[in-house]
Symmetry: C2
Subunit: 369 residues, 2 copies
C-alpha cells in the first residue's frame, strides 16, 4: 500500500516535500458549497488564504465564483494581478499600508471591480478618511463571540461611532466565528451559526443604516449548515482542502481531504517503530492536535479507498524532520517501505501547510487529477 501511493507520487516527479492537491476532491468541495450558497441566494466569497494558488483559484472560477476574500494586502495584490476584480481584505486596516490599499482600490475600481476593507476602530476609520481612499467598500468588523477582533455585536455606541467616523459609506457588517474551531460536532456548529446570524442581524438593526450587507464565514459552520439564508454572504476558505482539524471538529469526512504533503522517507528505525521523513515545521507547520497519548502533527495518507492509514501518526517535528510513529505491530514489513519512498501526510491545518509550500521562492506543489 505504501509502494502504490509512493509510486503515484514519484510519477508526478516529486523528490522533496511537496503540497499534493487532489483535484477531484477539491473541485467537489468547491461545488458543494457553491451550489448550497446559490440555492439560498447567498454570495459565496471564498477565502483564498487557504490555497494562495492560481490553479485552485481557476477551479473556483470554473464554479462561477467571481468574488473573493484574502487576509493581507499582499495577497490582494497578487490575486488582483491575476485578474480577480472583486476582493475583500478580511483583515483590519493597517494604516501603514494605506498607500498600497489606495493604489489597489484605484486599479480595481477603474476596471469596474471593488475592494472591501474592514475596520473596528475610529482610528482606522480616520486613517482611511485622511488617506482619501475613495471607492473602497468599508465593512465594520463585528465580534459575535470569537473575541479576536471586531466591535462587540451589542456595543451599539461604538458601532455608531465607527460607522460615523468618516471612512465613507458602510457597505456591511462582517464577522468571523472562529470559535467554531473550539467545538465538536454538527449540533454545536449549527448553534454557533444560528447565534452568529442572529447577532449580526441585531447589530444591523441597531445601526439602522440603509442596505447594510451581512457577511459571515468560517468553514466549520458553513460546512454543516444547509440553509444560509438570513445573511448575504459567506466567506469560508479551508473547505476547499479541509484537514485533520476539520475532521476532528466534524465538518468534513476523510474522503473530503484534498491536500496533503508528500514527504521523502530518509530514515527507518524499526526498533522504535519510527520512520523519519523530510517534512518538518517548515513544510507542515507546528499546528498540532492533542490525542490521548500526546500531540500529533499529521496522519499518513493513502491514495485509495482508505484515505487515512490507522496506526501511524506524525508525532514530532523539527525544522526539516518529521518523525512518524507506528503503533505496535504496524511498522512496515521489510520491503513495504524504503528509504527514498514518498509518504503522504495529511496536515493538521492545510492553510498553513499550503502557505509554507506555495508561498515560497521555489514553490513545491503537485496536482493529482
Amino acid at each position: 500500500m505504501f509502494k502504490r501511493t509512493s509510486g503515484i507520487l514519484k510519477d508526478l516527479g516529486i523528490t522533496r516535500p511537496t503540497l499534493v492537491i487532489l483535484e477531484v476532491r477539491a473541485r467537489a468541495n468547491i461545488r458543494r458549497l457553491a451550489h448550497r450558497a446559490a440555492a439560498c441566494g447567498v454570495t459565496l466569497r471564498p477565502h483564498f488564504k487557504t490555497h494562495q494558488s492560481e490553479v485552485v483559484a481557476g477551479w473556483f472560477a470554473d464554479a462561477g465564483i467571481d468574488r473573493i476574500t484574502v487576509s493581507s494586502v499582499g495577497m490582494a495584490d497578487r490575486f488582483a494581478a491575476a485578474g480577480w476584480m472583486d476582493i475583500t481584505i478580511a483583515f483590519l486596516v493597517n494604516p501603514l499600508e494605506m498607500p498600497r490599499i489606495k493604489a489597489l482600490a484605484a486599479g480595481l475600481t477603474a476596471g469596474g471591480g471593488r475592494l472591501g476593507v474592514t475596520i473596528d476602530s475610529v482610528a482606522a476609520a480616520a486613517a482611511l478618511a485622511s488617506a482619501g481612499a475613495g471607492g473602497v467598500d468599508v465593512w465594520l468588523k463585528i465580534d459575535t463571540g470569537y473575541g479576536r477582533t471586531g466591535i462587540a455585536w451589542d456595543d451599539q455606541a461604538l458601532l455608531r461611532e465607527v460607522a460615523a467616523a468618516g471612512a465613507g459609506p458602510v457597505r456591511g457588517l462582517l464577522t468571523h466565528s472562529g470559535h467554531s474551531y473550539h467545538v465538536l460536532g454538527r449540533p454545536a456548529l449549527r448553534e454557533i451559526w444560528d447565534r452568529t446570524a442572529a447577532r449580526m442581524r441585531a447589530a444591523r438593526d441597531a445601526l439602522a443604516l440603509d442596505g447594510l450587507l451581512l457577511s459571515v464565514g468560517d468553514t466549520p459552520t458553513c460546512s454543516v449548515v444547509d440553509d444560509y439564508s438570513g445573511v448575504d454572504e459567506i466567506r469560508p476558505g479551508n473547505f476547499v482542502f479541509y484537514d485533520l482539524m476539520q475532521l476532528r471538529i466534524g465538518s468534513c469526512g476523510a474522503n473530503d481531504l484534498a491536500a496533503a504533503v508528500a514527504c521523502p522517507v530518509v530514515g527507518l528505525y524499526p526498533r522504535r517503530n519510527q520512520a523519519v521523513i523530510h517534512g518538518g515545521a517548515v513544510h507542515l507547520s507546528r499546528e498540532s492536535l492533542r490525542e490521548d497519548d500526546g500531540l500529533i502533527f499529521g496522519r499518513i495518507g493513502l491514495l485509495g479507498p482508505e484515505p487515512i492509514l490507522e496506526g501511524a501518526r506524525v508525532t514530532s517535528l523539527s525544522q526539516e524532520h518529521g518523525i512518524v510513529t507506528f503503533a505496535d505491530g504496524r511498522f512496515p514489513a521489510p520491503g513495504e517501505l524504503g528509504i527514498g519512498d514518498l509518504l503522504l501526510v495529511w496536515p493538521v491545518h492545510s492553510c498553513l501547510a499550503a502557505d509554507l509550500l506555495v508561498n515560497r521562492p521555489d514553490p513545491s506543489v503537485a496536482v493529482i487529477r
Copy 2:
C-alpha cells in the same frame, strides 16, 4: 516606550510583518563562538538554516568562517551559488535528490571546495554508491541520545556495516544532540555535551578507521561549554539570533536576542487587556512555550536597555493575527500605543520565524545597525 521602538522601526520603512535583525548583537554572538572555537582548535561550521540570509552569512565571513552547515539540498544550492565552497548537508541523504547532490558536489569540488552528506543506513550508502557521487564527503550520522535519526552510538555492528556499504571513504561521525532542548540550565547542558563527546569518541574507537573527524552541534550545549576540545567540529546555528526557547533553556541572556518580528498593531481592546497585531502563524510560526497559565507564542521587545517588556505576551496566533495579552494594569495608557504603531515580538523559535519571513517570494527583513 512603545512609541520610541515603533518610531525606530517606522524609520526603517517597515509597514508589514518584518524580521528585524539586530546586527551588533548578532555579530557579537558570532564572534563569541568563533573565538571560543578557535581558542580550542575546533572548527566552527555554523548551521545556516537559522538565518538563510546572505547578509548574515556575510557577518560570518567577516568573522573568518568559511565552512557551513545547511539542512537541505535546496539551501546548499543557494549558498553555493552565493560563493560558499565548503558545505555540509546535515540532513540524511534522500535518494530522490541524488542528481542534485551530484551536480552540487561536482560544482563545489571543481572549485576546490567540498560537499558533505550524512547517512545512517545501508540503503542510503547504496544510493550514493550507485549514483557514483564521487568526491562527496560521507559522514555517518550518530544517535548519541536524541532519538531522531542516526546509528545508535553503541551499535557497532551497524556502524561497521554502513561504513563498509560502498558510499566511499567515511570522513567522520556527525551528531546533533537535540535533547539539549529538553533540559534547563547550564549544568544539565554541560552534562549533555560531555556525554555526547564521550559517546562520539567511543563510536570512533569502535569503528577504528583512520582519521575520522567528530562533528557535534546544537546551540544550547555549544553556548555554555567553554572548551570544545575532544571533538573536531561544532555546528550550532540558532546562536546567531537566539530566541525565547534558548532563554528558557538558559543558553543565552535577554541581551543576546538578535532577531525579532516587527508587527503592526491593528486592533486595541482595553476591556480585555489585549491588542491584535498583524503577525500570525505565517510570520512567527506556531512554536510555543508553556507558561504557568498557558502557551505563549512570543514576548514584546523594546529597543533599549530593557529588551523584554514584562507583563505582555503573545497568547494566541491564527494565520495572520496575533493576540497580545497584557497583565492586569499593564495595558498601554491612551496615547502610548496606537493602531498603526509597530510592536516588536521576540519569537519562541527564531529559525522558524526567519524561514517564514526570509524564505518568501517577497522577503521582509530589516537590519538595525
